[in-house]
Symmetry: C2
Subunit: 319 residues, 2 copies
């Protein structure tokens, strides 16, 4: 037994080395791919930006002595303001903003539109994050379990119904077409004890989960392109970047002061949640509503994508 266990350890080490090599190759492939996709555009954009910046510089420095023009300093100032989110008129650390910040920390999305600016705040962020990320990982893991359990339950009852239907159709004579005859031997026992051991294959779970994620991301992208007035592809990009908890921060939902949510969508959500809609629509309420939709979509998306990446990593491993 000991020798066998040792052999298995060697095998698993080999598998680990293999995935390392695959990742390195995949990264090299990505380097070539994105260089090919983006480099030309970057050169063009850089040229355009340089030209424009020089125009601004000339404009700003007109009528000033050569070495007294603080254009570069101004650019640095504006850049810092943009990175910290302070140039955006929306408050970052009011109550709702802090809630948003906390959520970006513990979900590890980390958009970076609001970040702590004091050193004490940064230190507390570390401690808050350690505890929060742990809880959030636990939440994701429990969600994965609940989802798989729920799926198994539904698939099992579907299978049971199918077996019962075949039994009825064949007039209660033994059915040789079924793979496993034991499945319906104790069909009338209470608490469905006979099929408790049956579990759907990981491929089936993966396939269902993949379809659900695809449906979710397509629908969410539609909603965001409505609310935020983005092109559909950009909306799709935002959804993926957020759901996979990458969170670049180039596209972030709900950063405008006034939502561009359409009144129809607002009515739909309100009916869905079960609240009353007046004839005239208040913008504050619509802001709250769009925040609520945003929160639900991001949470749901992150949960489902976590499940998908875990289940598909199991599938890849079994290949």
């Amino acid at each position: 037994v000991g020798c066998f266990a040792r052999l298995r350890i060697y095998e698993e080490n080999a598998r680990f080395v293999l995935i390392c090599i695959i990742l390195i190759v995949y990264l090299a492939f990505g380097a070539a791919l994105f260089h090919w996709l983006e480099w030309e555009n970057e050169v063009d954009e850089r040229k355009a930006i340089d030209t424009r910046m020089n125009e601004y510089r000339v404009d700003y420095c007109r009528g000033k002595p050569e070495n007294e023009c603080d254009f570069d300093e101004m650019v640095r100032f504006i850049t810092d303001g943009a990175t910290s989110g302070l140039l955006n008129s929306r408050s970052r650390f009011d109550m709702l903003g802090s809630l948003f910040f906390s959520a970006t920390v513990i979900s590890t999305i980390g958009f970076g539109t609001s970040t702590p600016r004091t050193q004490f705040g940064r230190f507390i962020t570390i401690i808050y994050g350690v505890v929060g990320c742990t809880c959030c990982v636990l939440f994701f893991n429990l969600f994965l379990e609940r989802l798989v359990t729920g799926m198994s339950y539904i698939l099992r009852s579907l299978r049971e119904r199918k077996i019962r239907y075949r039994l009825k159709e064949s007039g209660n004579k033994p059915v040789t077409l079924l793979l496993n005859n034991e499945d319906f031997n104790e069909s009338s026992s209470s608490c469905e004890g006979h099929m408790d051991n049956w579990r759907p294959s990981v491929y089936k779970v993966f396939f269902i989960l993949f379809s659900m994620c695809l449906a979710l991301i397509t629908a969410s992208a539609g909603v965001y392109s409505f609310i935020e007035d983005w092109v559909y592809v950009d909306s799709l990009y935002f959804c993926f970047i957020s759901f996979a908890t990458i969170g670049f921060g180039d596209y972030v939902s709900n950063q405008q002061d006034v939502t561009r949510m359409s009144p129809d969508l607002y009515r739909l959500v309100c009916v869905g949640v079960g609240c009353v809609v007046d004839e005239e629509i208040h913008y504050i309420e619509m802001n709250h509503c769009s925040r609520f939709v945003n929160f639900c979509l991001l949470t749901l998306g992150a949960c489902f994508f976590y499940c998908l990446s875990n289940v598909s990593s199991i599938v890849v491993r079994q290949l």
Copy 2:
């Protein structure tokens, strides 16, 4: 058995609801906490920025007709340049930059210092990310397994040595102090078959992992405060935000054209990797070296923090 299984499902549903409630309370707590920590500073900073921006505006608009001053447009232009990283002189999508971008996608750190600007690039990012994130999750999971296996192996041999030592000390007469006498009954069998079933408790693993993470983050923060010239707390903040794959992007390592790595650290790394150091130090080589150190630290940190958050979520669950 069926009824029992159903009871267990109810219990686990209750646990899931519990973690949801805990997370919501924790988020609300975070909202209050960060509002308290950061709000005052934000108000002050905003006031200072507004004053300064007005000065710049007056300066820029001097001698122009009232409604012809395009200051706001310029600010928007600079802001966009800052967010996209194009104002930074460092290329984003040259080969090494693309490699960095790919790594931020698949590790889900997503600093956001370089993001795709073309719509086709964004679409490809989605596909690249789906495959890459799956592989990366698999890598993290295998790393976790390898680490725990390695730890078990070391702890087991330590335990074996202890038992042998006690056996020797007690002059081969039966030791009643030991909890489990079966452990050393077959002490001389080949391939150590007798202790294969022994596993260290999850608390022990958690404690060791926690210490390792603490050591790693303290050391890395020291290295970064050397290389990047950051205050130690900021360096610690950067390490945590990166290792936990939050990746806000307010602090990002290796964004300067010339590294500020000290020659001593460079020599140390070179000796560690086993390459030769000339007497005179070339800056290009130092840049490569600091990139290499950066890559190693981030990979190691992300792996260890992934393990820590998973193991501690198991510990929390067992409470």
